[in-house]
Assembly symmetry: C2
Homo-oligomer: 191 residues x 2
């Protein structure tokens, strides 16, 4: 398989959430162009309560011009995906998690998007406030039993493919794995 | 939850594979803007052989500037997602399927993208030619046992989130369901 090298790149549109670029590529003597959406990385969080319920968020989504039912998630504005996940969880549900586990990192769409999506499981949840939403947007929190998720996906109640991928990763994740992804759990150097 | 109505839309960039729009939205007295990528619908196909192997395609992906291992898929250029799935399967693997089952329809990203992704299971496969690829791009076909897919995802060999979502739908799909999604199976009207 040939590697395509970027010879130059035109910025067609730039915005905080995405930059649209036309890349001019070369592989040996061949040349071609490709459109790429250069975006910040994303995170998704499956917030799971002690009694086996998932916190879902209902919000208006502008892409499909309709409300959707999703897990919390968003852009990684900071350096660390785990910190972004904690911020999104708190903004969208008003909850903080005492335990974090990384379920995996995927590409949301490697054909078009440059970014990565990291998915976390958040457990040992503590309610610390109200959902604030993002930029004043309304957000409603619903809790459903984890065992109900397959039915909600089959019924078309949950339609977000990246949320479905998160539940795949959770289903494949050994339930007794306890790698703690919380950065504050790192012992101080020399401690 | 308030509905946001599109009052007007600016086309920021237009291309065959996507149109980037800035939508001006209203909900009651409130106004806001949102970026939306208006794209054709997409299809994904899980091609499964009689001996339980999945046909995967390896190709260079320009978003992540690397080769990926995926199931066949692409844009719905025609009216019908099933026909698009058959075309993509044939282009990318050189195979035709005698049996099709729709596994589900999802939104690839309802926050940003307007489109839908329909996933099919293709079985009773017949090799009819060589993979042609899309626009002369190189494509390599690999077959792996279906039971190996979770390991390939966990290992980061398969990273495409929409492919992971497809395997979620397959895992949840009753194995004896036999809804035939092939349009040619529709009896003629009055027949």
């Amino acid at each position: 398989m040939r590697s395509w090298r970027t010879e130059s790149s035109e910025q067609l549109f730039k915005h905080r959430i995405l930059t649209l670029e036309r890349r001019h590529l070369a592989a040996g003597p061949d040349r071609r162009q490709a459109l790429v959406l250069d975006t910040p990385n994303w995170v998704n969080v499956v917030p799971l309560t002690a009694d086996g319920r998932v916190l879902l968020v209902r919000q208006w989504r502008f892409g499909v011009a309709a409300p959707t039912l999703e897990i919390p998630g968003g852009m990684v504005d900071e350096d660390d995906a785990r910190r972004a996940a904690a911020r999104e969880l708190e903004e969208e549900t008003g909850c903080r998690a005492r335990h974090w586990r990384k379920l995996g990192a995927l590409h949301p769409n490697p054909a078009l998007l440059s970014n990565r999506l990291t998915t976390f499981l958040a457990t040992d949840l503590e309610r610390i406030g109200e959902p604030a939403g993002d930029g004043g947007e309304e957000i409603e929190v619903e809790t459903v039993p984890l065992a109900e998720i397959p039915r909600l996906i089959a019924a078309g109640t949950i339609t977000h493919a990246l949320v479905v991928a998160a539940f795949y990763l959770l289903a494949q994740s050994p339930p007794d794995a306890s790698e703690d992804a919380a950065p504050e759990a790192t012992p101080p150097a020399g401690g």
